[in-house]
């Protein structure tokens, strides 16, 4: 069986200032959530957008957490795009719930749009990792 999966959660934002609750369930075949990455169609909607996240009932991010803290540009290598969790976050069918809040005052022509939240699911055992650690550094 594969050891990695990138599970996508889509959140539809219809109008400026929308605050949308979302809920999903992680794939049962994977043990751990290693990281998270948020993708939005334009940098303009990223400024001031916030996301709250709970996995398996445990607080991961408060509602005021900026989406920018878990997203980056296209020029970043795929393995380094994810915000990596330093502690063990249980997957295996855990509920993922949260709230995405769109910033007000952005360009109305951008709406509606989808936010894609990617969860990096893995099956390996827990190893504490430092945020920003490069994939190549671990496997020279």
């Amino acid at each position: 069986m594969k050891n990695h999966k990138f599970q996508q959660i889509r959140i539809r934002i219809n109008a400026p200032g929308d605050s949308v609750r979302f809920a999903a369930e992680t794939d049962k075949l994977y043990a751990k959530v290693r990281g998270v990455f948020a993708s939005v169609p334009s940098d303009q909607v990223l400024v001031g957008a916030t996301i709250g996240l709970k996995i398996n009932g445990q607080d991961v991010f408060d509602d005021a957490h900026e989406v920018r803290m878990i997203s980056c540009g296209n020029q970043v290598a795929p393995n380094n795009k994810f915000f990596r969790f330093e502690e063990h976050i249980e997957a295996g069918g855990s509920t993922v719930e949260g709230r995405y809040t769109d910033p007000r005052g952005t360009n109305p022509a951008l709406y509606p749009y989808d936010v894609k939240l990617y969860l990096w699911l893995v099956n390996e055992t827990h190893q504490p990792e430092k945020h920003g650690e490069k994939h190549s550094e671990k496997h020279p």
């Binding site: 940098d43 001031g48 445990q58 607080d59 900026e66 980056c72 540009g73 795009k81």
Partner: protein, 153 residues
């Protein structure tokens, strides 16, 4: 149970050159602070990066530890993931995080009045904190005087 909490201190800057006081109480179950990021959230708009829009100074444990001074910049484009700077500060329960943020923006249009050019903006300081292990809240009246004396010695 997750042990890491990302605590956010939001600061609103409404005037040119303003000093914004930081006076914030962290939850008492936080045991240590292991990282921070200070960044512009919203308000400023520019086509190019601005390396410095302000300075931030933060003290922990009710001014007992002056821990970091940092520049806050503005990024015009989304680039790398923001990285937490490392800290290792044991937190005393119920103590304050204090300090200030100073707006140091330079007027890019010297012929235009500052009031027309300046826009209010928001800065956030993210503190990565770890919860204390096995923290139990015990009322002081419940502590036996002999045990308290032994602990003091």
């Amino acid at each position: 149970m997750t042990k890491i909490r990302y605590h956010i201190i939001q600061l609103d800057v409404s005037e040119y050159g303003q000093v914004v006081e930081i006076r914030h109480r962290l939850p008492s179950n936080y045991g240590s602070c292991t990282g921070y990021v200070a960044r512009h959230v919203k308000g400023i708009s520019s086509d190019v990066d601005i390396p410095e829009i302000g300075l931030v100074a933060v003290e922990f444990n009710s001014r007992k530890q002056l821990y970091f001074n940092d520049l806050v910049g503005y990024e015009a484009q989304v680039d790398q993931l923001p990285e937490y700077q490392e800290l290792n500060i044991p937190l005393e329960s119920g103590q304050l995080v204090t300090g200030f943020y100073l707006d140091t923006q330079k007027n890019p249009y010297p012929l235009i009045d500052i009031k027309e050019w300046f826009r209010p903006y928001q800065v956030a300081i993210y503190l990565k904190c770890e919860l204390q292990n096995g923290k139990k809240h015990v009322r002081s009246s419940c502590i036996h005087p002999v045990a308290a004396e032994a602990a003091a010695n």
